[in-house]
Amino acid sequence: MRKGALLLHVAPTLLFSFLVFFPLYLGFTRLITVAELSPFAAIWQIDSRPSGIGAITFTFIEASISTILTILLGIPIAWTLARDNWPGRIYLRAIFTMPFVMPSIIAAVGFLALIGTDGPLYPLGIDLRQQSGIIGKISDATGWENPGHFIALIAAHIWFNLALTIRFLEPPLSNLNPNIEESIKLLPGGNNIFSRMKNLWLPLLSPNIAAASVMTFIFSFTSFALVRWLTPSSFTLERLMAEHGGAAGIPDYGMGDAQIVLGSATIQLITIMISLILLNWLQKRNGAAMPFALSKGQKRQIPYREMSFASILKTFYFISILIFVLAPLIAVFRSSFRMRVRTGDVGFTQQWTLEGWSSLSTLSWNQTTITEALFNSLGYAALTLLIAVPLGIIFANNIHLSDEIAKIAKTRRKRLFWKYWARGNDFLVMFPLAISAVLIGLGVSLGLLNTWPSLSQRWWFPAIGHILIATPFVVRSILPAIRSLNPDYSKAAALLGLGPIERMFKITLPLLSGPIVVASSLALAISLGEFGATWVVLRNGASSTLPVHIDSLFSKPGFDPLVTPTAMAGASVLMAITLILYVMVEKYRPDGAGGEF
């Protein structure tokens, strides 16, 4: 390997490792110093603090239930999208998977608007917020505190993560060669639905179900914005770390907070590492389940099904999910036109208004208006795009090349080296996504900021978190495309004397233009919607981003009736930009890229 190529291989890995692990290392050592406890001793402190009581249990329970229900609700959708000839199938899939790119603060305020007294559920007798009516009866009968809040949180987690189940399960279902399915029906091991489930579907789907489950579990486990707004009396470890993170890095001042944060971070890191290892093991164990796939170019014949009870049931299910997916977004938009107005002798009423929209650039909080926060966000997004996309492309290329080198390596040692180099890079680049936004933010704020406080005055500073969180999405969008590139082009170019860098710019990149648009749009959307890391980092200065600013507006005293509609108008703007980016993603998404994001 030439020196230049070697540098291109090693430099991104070193840089990214440094950006991920160095702040975390500094943050942890600082926490240990301030807390005056070891990480494991700190775990026992969590339950002795008022906000921490029950937090560990709550986090595990909500994440497990969210995961199970998301998978159960998602499987029928993936199944039907893959196997039935629905009109507008592509559009339905796009809508069902759209929540995954939506900023979490949008989901939080959207669900709040849905379950509030001005929302559509309340008149139906479903009062998830004040928990009167049936929800109150459930609570009284079972002694379960705040069942309504819990249900709302789980619903929001399902809303967010359905996309994972659909994206992971649809490809193996639609790629299965129908002949196999027909043949197995004739065999004793497949002559009824249960035996087919056991002998065909479970082995076929289990690696992807495992992947979707682990990802959903991790995202629900590390939920912050949704927990903060939907279950005000409950804490995930992520919320504990965020809300106690401010003082936690200051010696002689933040000892109590440092103990809570250190304990939470320790459990969270261990849990996530175990989940990822488990996933790896499950996928390896079941990895050889796809020899039945359709060969390239062979299209699955999707039978048009006659009107039947099953199809009516499916239609009903699809319409319900469609409403479920769109409702929080519509609720946000609607709320931007609602304002409380004083009427009669007692109290207020909600009335229609345009004032929220007209106050977007005048109503200021913390010397920042929504318009200014939007421009800040666009600045960070641009920076994220400029760094995360090239970095992600280089990573994807390196991972692919290492795999290829491993395939042709002559010695076992070389083969193993390149194989693990590829796997290691893949793991490294996914790591920020798995360890949660708040941990990234705490690394940056407790690690870097507390060591070099003047960094907080650098305007680009909060973008570090955005870049770390966006890069995995870029890699996941580019890697499958690079793998499917025909290597002959590159070989031919090499024969014609083009060096690796020239080949990259003249051959590979132009062929990847579609996936690059997808990756760029995703990077922009992730940066614009990023909440947890920015929330933590912005505690000490720099300029507010739009999602954090919307959160601040909702946290601001709302005596002035204008605050809510203005915040909702800001949320609508953020939602609209994300939707435009998502349309770009869907438009340029290559076929069969379902297994990635």
Binding site: G116, P232, S233, R340, F348, E372, N540
Partner: protein, 356 residues
């Protein structure tokens, strides 16, 4: 390249790096570390710039605690010349960390009440307001539930699960109220109990503990504007807030509110917010001009309507309009120095953790 279009003369933080270079060459920009101070409207900042030729740039933190943390982190090499928004529940910590330098701002127009916690030599007060329990008058009807005569009443069954307080570790009103309770139970006639017993009894009575003021007031409290907000729960009929919060409710509600503040001697804490010049600041004279502007009658008299806090100047009360003053309460606040708070706050916080 990325500068944000900001109104007035406030410059966006995008410019901060560029600014530092300019600053060394001696331009007239004052950098202020603060959290949201609504009194500092764009118009007022513009007026300050027009009067003095000094433009203003803000470095923002989340809240009073965030301002203190940022100030501690940047100790001795501050990136700003003025700190606004540290209150007297945090002032002792700030002084213990030697964050501020002495100033010679003339404080003779400032009321004795506003100077009660600190005499102004290191930090100049610019607004204040007492923190106490607010209650829903539609629940406290005088028959089934009467107005509490002591904080102990809140440990009784009619208040079970109906009082919302803020976690003093994450909320500044919560911290202020904890301080009030430590003194209230130390000074009452019962020598066998103290604040830890009361908090433990409150915990047994299912007190609702929230992360911040908004969650307690807007989500849990039934007496304020919460019932008209998304996310309202309404399980609390009493909440820790400002003693003039009912006045602010009335101000926006055309003289209507069903919230009232509990006038209970010694059960409230007078929160005083300060402006101070950090050690190591460069532009002391500019910072001083801004403090003087902040405590000038023209700006400070606007505190009740712009910032929903009391003016610190003698002779300026809340406006009568819309029942603002009528619905506000001025109780006898607990008396405690900021040094005393600093000396004990860790112990109080730990005891509070244990009691809840």
């Amino acid at each position: 390249m990325l500068s944000t279009p900001l109104s007035g003369c406030i410059e966006g933080p995008w410019k901060s790096e560029m600014h530092r270079i300019e600053k060394n060459s001696g331009d007239d920009t004052l950098r202020i570390l603060t959290y949201d101070i609504m009194a500092l409207s764009d118009e007022m900042i513009s007026a300050f710039t027009n009067q003095t030729g000094i433009s203003v740039e803000f470095i923002r933190a989340n809240d009073a605690g965030g301002v203190l943390e940022t100030a501690i982190l940047n100790k001795d090499r501050p990136q700003y010349d003025l700190i606004i928004g540290i209150d007297n529940s945090f002032l002792g910590d700030a002084l213990a960390f030697s964050l501020f330098q002495a100033n010679d701002v003339n404080v003779e127009n400032i009321s004795l009440k506003a100077l009660s916690s600190h005499d102004g030599s290191y930090a100049v007060p610019y607004d204040m307001g007492s923190i106490c329990i607010n209650y829903d008058t539609s629940y406290v009807d005088g028959e089934n539930v009467t107005v509490p005569m002591s904080l102990w009443n809140f440990t009784e069954t009619e208040w079970k699960g109906k009082v919302a307080v803020q976690n003093p570790r994450t909320s500044s009103p919560g911290r202020s109220f904890l301080i009030a309770t430590t003194q209230y139970f130390a000074e009452d006639t019962d020598e066998n109990t103290d604040y830890t017993d009361w908090w433990a009894a409150m915990s047994a009575n299912d007190v609702i503990v929230s992360s911040g003021w908004t969650e307690a007031y807007e989500t849990h409290y039934s007496g304020g504007y919460g019932p008209w907000m998304d996310g309202y729960i309404g399980d609390a009929q009493a909440v820790v807030s400002y003693c003039h919060s009912p006045g602010v409710e009335a101000w926006y509600g055309e003289n209507w509110t069903q919230s009232a503040a509990l006038n209970l001697a010694g059960a409230s804490f007078l929160q005083i917010e300060y402006a101070a010049i950090p050690n190591g600041a460069e532009d002391i004279s500019q910072a001083k001009s801004f403090i003087e502007y902040l405590i000038s009658p023209e700006v400070n008299s606007q505190m009740p309507t712009q910032n929903f806090m009391y003016s610190v100047l003698d002779g300026y009360d809340l406006p009568e309009e819309n029942g603002y003053r009528h619905h506000s309460v001025s109780p006898i606040d607990t008396q405690i120095s900021s040094e005393n708070i600093e000396a004990h706050i860790d112990e109080w916080l730990n005891n509070w953790d244990a009691a809840i």
